[in-house]
């Protein structure tokens, strides 16, 4: 009987517990429910990275511009109009009078200036700070302080710790890369200093003292510039409020995609009052102040996040959804099951890849090319991949068609270069990475491994996933069959994999890169020597020069040599350069500058896919998902200016523009 009593007591406890946990949870479903794929880490637009956070941010906040759903072109958001100076470097935005925060206060230009300063503040370590580095003073404010400190202290100390005497090219280059000197002295007016960092050079004993002195001078220069920028950025430098409703932005160089960036969440305004009241958790329900079409009603971590239509939004009459639920479920099978049983209206990818064949015939399935490239990195500092012939041999020996058709099966495009198709105005260079097994064998023999003999066993590292595994195994098999080399595919979970790649502890490593904006630069500027996202140990002074020149074509065009002479198509570049110089009015000038810029970027990519092969592009992603036919305002394909339907490369589907037409049967 005691047992019975005990059992009853436990049962009562259980019932109580259930009641407790349910009382907080039961409520009516929202108008629209979607699976966000993961829990947003934060809702602070100045801190967040990642598409799941972005979807929520785009609903809670609004930037100067926003992306209109059908075309994804930037249209007025908080800014109702703007003027761009003839040279493309100055923007003046006029904010609308009825833009309000959810606490009733008006959204002002000061909010934007303050938010952008906050984004670039080096103390905050925002990961997307680099996205606004084309604003005057932003890069200096964000990075030069730490660089000056490094150049003044740790770098000379590290140099002193090296063996005395002449430093051969290998040792010196290792030092340059490890200390990220190219990054830290980029744009220095000291030509001698820049020359010492070029690849293939060593550092003579006699030059060392001069180098340290040059570092000191550079450190002082950067410190002075930083102090200026820190005092003035967001106040009267780069971005400034000229009045409560006038925001002026000055750019370092004309940037064709700038209005897209003002619609991207790092550039969203934040409420200074809210942030200063609750610095750590101002974005939580109860504290959050937002200016977008929706407000945050409830956020139960691991359960759901609920948004409701905002009453203070200036365009509230255009918003047709009263409430939205974002579910953070991560398990692919569970997500799919939830969608299939009507528990969610939209599944933006994330379903188990094995089911692609079964799902792609469904009418509610959508897919299209995405602005994402899947590639392998080579560890260019470790034999055998320190030999470019080996890298080229591998790149041209694999069969991308087999991977795309047999393993993936969703119409992915084999990638012979890095920049995905669909970038208007950009023509990718011809690639030498096309399949040529005979040439691959010859190159391998030339490198000293005829028939694969003597080739060390190498590994392909990938982060844990069924599809990465399949691809890696297919590639390993292809290399074994065609080149006779032993390749072993192995995996680590995400964090471990990241750490290994960053530490250079790999031979070949799988990677993916999503473009941040519709411009080739987002795929190319990461490969500069010592760049944070490079992680291959490869670097090339010409490549760095091209990326820098493309970032500010006007300044480069004033002194185009010696870069111009080293281009592979100097003739074409000269033509475009002449067009730029001969431009009669500002509009022509901007267009000529844009064309020249694209040419330079093409030259840069050519280095990657014709000469150096530090990475091996494999395919361009296809973005796909499932969306209920009752959902409207959802554009799987976008309408281009000429009326044709083109791919939604960035896979953006703003929640603001969606609505549902449900049959009243539930």
């Amino acid at each position: 009987m005691r047992t019975l009593a005990a059992l009853l007591a436990v049962f009562a406890l259980a019932v109580l517990g259930v009641q407790l946990s349910f009382s907080a949870a039961t409520e009516a479903p929202a108008d629209f429910t979607f699976l966000n794929g993961t829990e947003p880490r934060t809702l602070d637009p100045g801190v967040m990275t990642g598409a799941p956070e972005g979807r929520i941010a785009d609903a809670l906040f609004e930037g100067l511009t926003r992306r209109e759903a059908r075309t994804l072109r930037p249209v007025p958001g908080v800014a109702e109009s703007w003027e761009i100076s003839p040279d493309g470097r100055t923007y003046v935005f006029h904010l609308r009078a009825d833009a309000r925060w959810s606490d009733g206060t008006p959204v002002t230009a000061h909010d934007f200036a303050w938010a952008w300063r906050r984004l670039e503040d080096p103390a905050r370590g925002a990961e997307y700070a680099y996205i606004l580095h084309m604003v005057k003073g932003a890069e200096i404010f964000n990075t030069w302080g730490a660089q000056a400190d490094a150049l003044a202290g740790p770098v000379p100390e590290a140099l002193a710790a090296l063996a005395p005497g002449d430093l051969d090219a290998r040792t010196w280059q290792a030092f340059v890369v490890e200390q990220r000197l190219a990054d830290r002295t980029a744009g220095t007016p000291d030509a001698w200093l820049a020359a010492q960092l070029e690849r293939g050079r060593g550092l003579g004993a006699g030059e060392r003292e001069r180098f340290v002195a040059a570092l000191g001078d550079e450190a002082r220069r950067r410190r002075a510039a930083f102090d200026q920028a820190a005092a003035r950025f967001g106040r009267d430098l780069g971005v400034q409020a000229r009045g409560p409703r006038t925001l002026m932005v000055e750019l370092v160089a004309p940037t064709p995609y700038f209005l897209e960036l003002t619609a991207f969440y790092p550039a969203y305004p934040v409420s200074r009052a809210a942030v200063e009241a609750h610095p750590q958790d101002w974005f939580l329900p109860g504290h959050i102040v937002s200016n977008g079409p929706f407000e945050l009603e409830r956020w139960r971590v691991n359960h759901k996040l609920r948004l409701v239509r905002s009453d203070s939004y200036w365009d509230r009459d255009a918003i047709r959804l009263a409430s939205i639920d974002a579910l953070p479920i991560e398990n692919g099978t569970t997500m799919l099951n939830l969608y299939l049983t009507g528990g969610a209206d939209w599944l933006p990818g994330g379903y188990p890849s094995d089911l692609v064949d079964a799902l792609k015939t469904r009418p509610d399935f959508y897919s299209g090319p995405g602005m994402v490239v899947y590639y392998y990195r080579f560890n260019c500092e470790r034999p055998p991949f320190d030999d470019v012939r080996v890298r080229e041999a591998i790149s041209i020996a694999i069969d991308r068609r087999e991977i795309v058709e047999d393993v993936l099966g969703l119409g992915q495009i084999p990638a012979y270069h890095l920049v995905p198709p669909g970038m208007t105005g950009y023509t990718p260079p011809e690639s030498r990475a096309v399949r040529d097994v005979a040439r691959a064998r010859r190159l391998l023999a030339e490198a000293g491994y005829p028939g694969g003999k003597g080739f060390p066993a190498v590994g392909i590292l990938f982060n844990t996933s069924e599809s990465h595994k399949k691809i890696a195994e297919v590639i390993a098999d292809q290399l074994r069959r065609t080149l006779g080399i032993a390749v072993n595919a192995y995996n680590q979970e995400w964090q471990g994999y990241q750490a290994s790649v960053r530490a250079g502890d790999y031979d070949m490593a799988r990677a993916g890169w999503i473009g941040d904006y519709l411009d080739p630069n987002t795929f190319l500027d990461m490969w500069v020597t010592g760049g944070g996202n490079n992680q291959t140990g490869w670097g090339d002074a010409l490549y760095d020069g091209l990326i820098r020149a493309a970032a500010d074509v006007e300044s480069w065009s004033a002194r185009p040599e010696p870069l111009l002479a080293r281009l592979r198509e100097p003739g074409e570049a000269r033509v475009r350069l002449a067009a730029l110089r001969g431009a009669s009015d500002a509009a022509t000038r901007l267009e000529a500058a844009a064309r020249l810029r694209m040419q330079l970027l093409q030259e840069a990519e050519a280095i990657l896919v014709q000469d150096a092969f530090p990475v091996m592009p494999i395919y361009f992603y296809v973005v796909s998902g499932l969306v209920s036919p009752q959902v409207r305002g959802f554009y799987a394909r976008l309408q281009a200016e000429d009326g044709t339907w083109v791919a939604n490369l960035q896979d953006l589907h703003p929640l603001r523009d969606l609505w549902i037409e449900r049959e009243p049967e539930r």
């Binding site: 005691r2 047992t3 005990a6 059992l7 436990v10 049962f11 406890l13 259980a14 517990g17 259930v18 407790l20 946990s21 349910f22 949870a25 039961t26 409520e27 829990e39 880490r41 934060t42 602070d44 801190v47 990275t49 080096p122 103390a123 370590g125 925002a126 990961e127 997307y128 990075t143 730490a146 750590q280 958790d281 101002w282 974005f283 939580l284 971590v301 691991n302 359960h303 479920i329 991560e330 398990n331 099978t333 569970t334 099951n337 939830l338 299939l340 049983t341 528990g343 680590q492 979970e493 995400w494 964090q495 471990g496 990241q498 750490a499 290994s500 960053r502 944070g532 996202n533 992680q535």
Partner: protein
């Protein structure tokens, strides 16, 4: 009483040891809370570390953590979920996991006892062999297979129950069943063994000889003895259900502690991992203590010997 006090006295130092060892192990794992695809420069990472109070070395972190725990009584800020403290995240998850776990334990015990005692009372009959075969299947199948099977059957094919999520009683059914079944199977086998053993004892023969109805013989005299192996298994069963909840909660999208354990580890969110480790340690210790007490309660011989 003495036994209880002894147990509780050991709890605090062993908790501290747990925190220390866990911290050491976490710092051994490659990666850090701040690793990301869009790589941050070392300066950015240093700034983030300062912001969250995550020093570079394990021992430094241990002191920071313990000081904060003792002085402010908080488990620290979560890193991967900005703006919330660990207890803010874990406390709402607690009743969810507890209710799921307790329900699973109840189902496991009830179902297991039912099947096992019945089998023990009719050894070598068809129902005995049948239940034990079923038990074998339940023990052998991993819980994500059982769970997925339920999801397909009840969620997709029949549409009786919601596939995932949390909100009302219907969301409890599949996760609780999935958690319970493997343990029901073990309990069934244990109960069967215990019943068989007890039914052979002399005092059962005496009770029957006294003329007591069979039902009284079973309920009042045999069952408590048969329960002994079951009760001693409840401690590990509870631990198993708690850890099994990692998979089941992830599968069914239940916002409980199990998900936090997994996420914290995968994200290298040191504070969350420590918070969940402390919780699980506490729960398992408490449960084992309760089981010990129940054991003493059920079997007077244990009481006498202590």
């Amino acid at each position: 009483m003495g036994r209880v006090l002894k147990r509780l006295a050991v709890l605090v130092p062993s908790m501290v040891a747990l925190i220390f060892v866990t911290t050491l192990l976490m710092y051994q794992a490659p990666g850090s809370p701040f690793a990301n695809e869009k790589v941050a420069s070392p300066e950015v990472e240093a700034a983030l570390r300062a912001q969250y109070g995550i020093p570079d070395s394990a021992t430094a972190f241990f002191w920071v953590y313990m000081k904060r725990l003792v002085r402010e009584g908080t488990l620290g800020p979560a890193i991967k979920v900005q703006g919330r403290s660990v207890e803010e995240l874990l406390l709402p998850a607690l009743p969810v996991s507890l209710s799921l776990g307790l329900l699973a334990l109840l189902i496991a015990t009830g179902l297991g006892l039912l099947l096992g005692v019945r089998a023990g009372l009719r050894p070598n009959s068809w129902s005995d062999h049948g239940s034990m075969a079923l038990a074998m299947v339940g023990i052998s199948l991993p819980n994500f297979v059982i769970g997925a099977g339920f999801m397909i059957l009840f969620g997709l094919a029949l549409g009786w129950l919601p596939v995932a999520g949390w909100g009302d009683a219907r969301h409890l059914v599949m996760p609780a069943l999935t958690l319970a079944l493997p343990y029901a199977a073990v309990i069934a086998r244990l109960a069967r063994g215990g019943t068989l053993e007890v039914m052979q004892q002399d005092f059962i023969r005496t009770a029957r000889a006294k003329g007591l109805p069979e039902r009284t013989v079973v309920w009042k005299h045999a069952l408590p003895g048969a329960l002994v192996p079951v009760v001693s298994f409840l401690g590990p069963a509870a631990a198993g259900i708690l850890t099994g909840s990692f998979v089941v909660e992830t599968l069914f999208g239940v916002p409980g502690m199990g998900q936090w354990f997994v996420k914290g580890a995968l994200n290298r969110d040191y504070s969350v991992v420590l918070g969940t480790a402390i919780f699980y340690f506490g729960m398992i210790t408490l449960f084992n203590l309760l089981v010990d007490l129940a054991y003493a309660w059920l079997d007077p011989r244990v009481r006498e010997s202590s």
